[in-house]
């Protein structure tokens, strides 16, 4: 391991570490644009200059590997002066349209100008003009005048997605990024170019002009749209409720996790949050007593549910859990089914069309917690439950989240089953064809409205935090299940998701020893997977 000195501080770094990362490890930030740890070295923005002892002039840190005995200084007068010059060069032809630019507030031109520039502008000639507001694909908008030609987007499409849609065309100060003829930036990961664009050149068509970024709040979370569980930040708009078309969730951004998603997030996940604020969200529990569903209170609902469940024999109750439920929900549900002695429990409902995966992030299993459902123990295949319902052997059927009509099951069979069961309870976030046929519709809090954990396909248990309040009377599933358990006479101490997780960890060996604290921000592998990995 090379040992070097950076700004007088000794630091030891892994072999192959460049000076930007070595300085980061030593606690110093070297400004840079083109360098990105997930991409190849371009060395073209020229901002990351540092002084290395015994070299005649400042050297770019991105393309210099830390070496034993190296003496690096990131803050000499010469380096500072070089940075100021490079900042001026970056801004000569920049339109300086921050007031109408979406990147404002999270723009590295603004940040570095304030930190390292602060020169008096001298450019008085006409700037170079380039195309503006050019859609590159379904999600990304280009403003070529704001582009600093760092080539991160080009390298992303060349090296990560290997789709190669973007190139840099023309020469000199007329250089601009653009699409190769006949292509569209429509790969499954296109939104990432917006994240890695350090300036306002590439903006998100979904997010553009919705909220100023300084009004956003953020919560650490996990993407619920496939079994990988990419780490994300949920950006929400509390402070300007009249912006963003009244929607609370403004955007999702990938959060680095070396073991899960690195820096990336697929478009399906990135834009898969709109259901949270859609008009079909359920916000009040509703029951049908021979008529149209009528909104009611949770107290009445819980009492009625408990009575209905008590009034049925255990073998007359069916529960179709969901791999979209958190570990905590599933464990509460397991408690309930155990207490009632229910045997018709399952969670697997095949999708109508099998989803596909790729070699980057996306998993064919588009559920966030299949692994968790298996480990917690809520049955397996749900088809026998459907068959029992069709045969008239089920009096109470509680379906969580699934729209059975959107499954691979035959529509006629689903309808038969739902129509034969005297009491269908449906829990979920948004109305669908299954909820329409249910006798009880229980609004679930969406994942961004609550705490919990998912176990991804690697067996990694990952926390998601609450970013916003639940809509209306929507509640986390564990809360509803817990209250039903209590109404049935069980002792329920858990009042928070974390309590349910503690019970889970002390009951199911795979989760033994885990707490919300040990899971932390980057997750923890379950015991079984750990053994498999060491085997």
């Amino acid at each position: 391991m090379p040992k070097l000195t950076i700004n007088g501080k000794d630091v030891e770094v892994p072999p192959g570490t460049n000076l930007i990362e070595a300085a980061r490890l030593a606690g110093f930030a070297i400004p840079h644009y083109c360098y990105h740890p997930g991409l190849s070295i371009a060395g073209q923005c020229r901002l990351c200059m540092v002084d290395i002892e015994k070299t005649p002039r400042p050297t770019i840190a991105c393309n210099t590997l830390a070496a034993d005995g190296m003496v690096v200084n990131t803050e000499t007068d010469r380096v500072k002066e070089t940075r100021r010059s490079i900042m001026e060069f970056h801004l000569i032809n920049h339109p300086l349209d921050c007031p109408v630019c979406d990147q404002a507030g999270e723009c590295w031109l603004q940040i570095y100008y304030m930190r390292h520039g602060l020169y008096d502008p001298r450019m008085t000639d006409e700037k170079v003009h380039k195309p503006k507001a050019v859609p590159l694909g379904p999600h990304v908008m280009l403003d070529a005048e704001r582009c600093i030609l760092c080539s991160r987007c080009v390298r992303f499409c060349d090296e990560i997605t290997r789709t190669g849609e973007i190139g840099i065309f023309n020469r000199g100060d007329h250089s601009e990024i653009g699409l190769f003829p006949g292509t569209d930036l429509a790969n499954r990961y296109s939104g990432n170019v917006v994240d890695i664009c350090p300036v306002g050149a590439l903006t998100d068509r979904d997010f553009r002009f919705q909220v100023r970024v300084w009004y956003l709040d953020t919560a650490k979370s996990v993407c619920p749209n496939c079994a990988r569980g990419c780490n994300i930040d949920v950006h929400v708009n509390h402070r300007r409720p009249h912006h963003n078309e009244g929607r609370r969730v403004a955007r999702l951004k990938p959060r680095f996790n070396a073991q899960v998603n690195k820096w990336w997030l697929c478009d399906e996940g990135r834009y898969g949050f709109r259901f949270v604020d859609d008009p079909d969200r359920l916000s009040l529990p509703a029951g049908k007593n021979g008529g149209p569903p009528a909104a009611t209170t949770w107290d009445d609902t819980i009492r009625s549910l408990a009575e209905t469940l008590e009034g049925a024999r255990p073998d007359e109750i069916g529960v179709i859990a969901s791999p979209r439920m958190s570990n905590e929900d599933l464990f509460a549900l397991r408690r309930l089914t155990e207490r009632l002695g229910v045997t018709h429990v399952g969670f697997r409902v095949p999708p109508a069309k099998p989803a596909d995966d790729d070699d980057l992030l996306l998993r064919a299993d588009r559920n966030p917690n299949t692994q968790g459902a298996e480990l917690v123990g809520v049955g397996a295949d749900a088809k026998p439950i459907l068959d029992a319902a069709r045969a008239g052997r089920v009096r109470v059927l509680w379906v969580f989240h699934h729209d059975l009509f959107a499954s691979a099951w035959h529509e006629v069979e689903v309808r038969q089953a739902l129509e034969r069961v005297p009491t269908v309870i449906w829990s979920g976030t948004n109305a669908n064809r299954t909820s329409e046929l249910a006798h009880w519709v229980l609004p679930s809090a969406a994942w961004v409205e609550r705490e919990g954990t998912f176990t991804n396909f690697q067996g990694r248990v990952q926390r998601f935090r609450r970013a916003i309040e639940p809509l209306g009377d929507a509640r986390p599933d564990w809360d509803v299940i817990g209250r039903v358990l209590a109404a049935l006479g069980a002792e329920v101490k858990a009042t928070r998701a974390e309590h349910w997780f503690q019970e889970l960890a002390s009951t199911v060996s795979a989760f033994a020893g885990m707490t919300y604290r040990t899971i932390g921000d980057s997750g923890q592998i379950v015991a079984a997977a750990q053994e498999a990995a060491t085997r």
């Binding site: 070295i41 371009a42 060395g43 073209q44 923005c45 020229r46 901002l47 200059m49 002039r57 400042p58 770019i60 393309n63 002066e81 070089t82 010059s85 490079i86 001026e88 060069f89 970056h90 000569i92 032809n93 001298r122 450019m123 008085t124 000639d125 006409e126 170079v128 600093i148 030609l149 190139g167 840099i168 023309n170 020469r171 000199g172 100060d173 007329h174 250089s175």
Partner: protein, 407 residues
């Protein structure tokens, strides 16, 4: 006049043929080199003090010795025939009038670095040189000189100056945009197609057969202490006999202008000289008593570069000349590195304004400051090449610029 070595056959109308080349001693060096150990060839070239004649003046033998000895895969030899430095047209003469000299030099160099495949990257505008050289390659194949362990691919560029920068050339050869590559790694370690690669200029390689034939000591003795041989100077501008002149590298600029090129034309009064292609800082009329080798011009604050000598007489407007040069660099900047991409265009705008009589009081100081701030901050030497004229034209002829700026 001294002995002509590189240009000895230029006057023969059939010099481009294999027969003529053979008749004047061609391919004897190759015969000799085949009996030499590769390391011995490199050693001989080192001792000859041959330095790269494309612009940078790097010692050729030393460059060859950087090829890793333990490399298992292919090694490539790339000939830089993308002669694009304004004021330079000497490689064109070799390609058109003595193409076999290059092929023979390539054969010897390839043996020295154990290379089986060479690429010749010819400037796109050089149609005739490309035709003639391709014909010579065919002749060499037919004669069994090529294709027996060494093959040559002739590749045409598409008109970008930056593709004459060796790593820009490699990018272009690889089918990519002609962007210079970040160094390290250097081409000798990881060059064309990721393999160790030697990039040599046309004229440099054309010297090699003579070194092998007549010995390193003879070649070294032709030049100065630090640079051996003769080289070909392209002399253009306001001289009576513009053209390519071969001379020992110890020749002075004054001799080149007055003895070789017939003196200053037009007004007859010398004003300034660009001694080594457009990137070389300009010299004033009283700075021409310098030897035209790498070190002579470095000591004079300029550079020999590609040895393209452009002569200005008293009637030439230096601001107008700088406007042309600034336009060239703004147009040819590849756009990769921020300082070069952004400031070549900015400086062009300012110089153009000044030349058109619309300059502002601060323009000259701004240009000098911007140019010196950008110098040395980029991937390749292109910007430093642009800075040469920006700074030297203004510093040495400031009064002429100031006279154009409205008070």
């Amino acid at each position: 006049m001294s002995e002509k070595i590189l240009s000895r056959n230029f006057e023969r109308p059939d010099a481009y043929t294999l027969a003529a080349y053979r008749a004047t001693g061609g391919y004897q060096a190759w015969d000799k080199a085949q009996g030499m150990e590769p390391a011995a060839i490199t050693e001989e070239v080192k001792k000859s003090n041959l330095r790269g004649l494309g612009g940078a003046g790097f010692p050729t033998g030393m460059k060859w010795s950087f090829i890793p000895k333990d490399h298992a895969g292919p090694v490539y030899l790339v000939v830089n025939a993308d002669e694009g430095e304004p004021g330079t047209f000497k490689d064109r003469y070799i390609l058109e009038r003595d193409p076999h000299a290059l092929i023979e030099g390539m054969l010897i160099a390839a043996r020295a670095v154990r290379c089986a495949l060479g690429f010749v990257y010819i400037r796109g505008e050089y149609v005739t040189p490309w035709r003639v050289f391709s014909g010579a390659v065919r002749e060499a194949y037919d004669a069994g000189l090529l294709g027996q362990g060494f093959d040559v691919v002739v590749h045409r560029g598409a008109g970008a100056y930056i593709c004459g920068e060796e790593t820009g050339l490699i990018s272009s050869l690889e089918g990519k945009k002609g962007w210079p590559k970040v160094k390290p790694p250097f081409p000798a370690i990881k060059g064309a197609f990721g393999m160790p690669t030697i990039v040599n200029n046309v004229e440099t390689l054309a010297c090699v057969p003579h070194i092998v034939n007549r010995g390193a000591a003879w070649f070294a003795g032709l030049g100065t202490k630090t640079q051996g041989g003769t080289r070909m100077y392209s002399v253009s501008g306001r001289v009576n006999r513009p053209g390519v002149y071969e001379a020992p590298v110890s020749v002075t600029l004054r001799q080149l202008i007055y003895d070789h090129a017939g003196g200053v034309s037009a007004t007859g009064r010398l004003k300034a000289v660009v001694p080594g292609g457009s990137s070389a800082p300009i010299l004033t009329a009283d700075e021409i008593d310098v030897t035209m080798d790498v070190d002579g011009l470095r000591n004079a604050g300029s550079m020999i570069g590609s040895a393209g000598v452009v002569v200005f007489d008293e009637s030439v407007s230096v601001p107008d000349a700088l406007a042309v040069v600034a336009r060239f660099y703004a147009h040819e900047s590849c756009g990769q590195c921020t300082p070069c991409r952004e400031s070549t265009g900015w400086i062009e705008k300012q110089v153009k304004r000044i030349a058109e009589g619309k300059g502002r009081k601060d323009d000259l100081d701004t240009i000098l400051d911007v140019a010196s701030r950008g110098a040395g901050t980029t991937i390749c030497a292109f910007y430093d090449g642009a800075v040469g004229p920006y700074i030297s034209y203004i510093k040495k002829f400031r009064a002429e610029f100031e006279a154009l700026i409205p008070k």
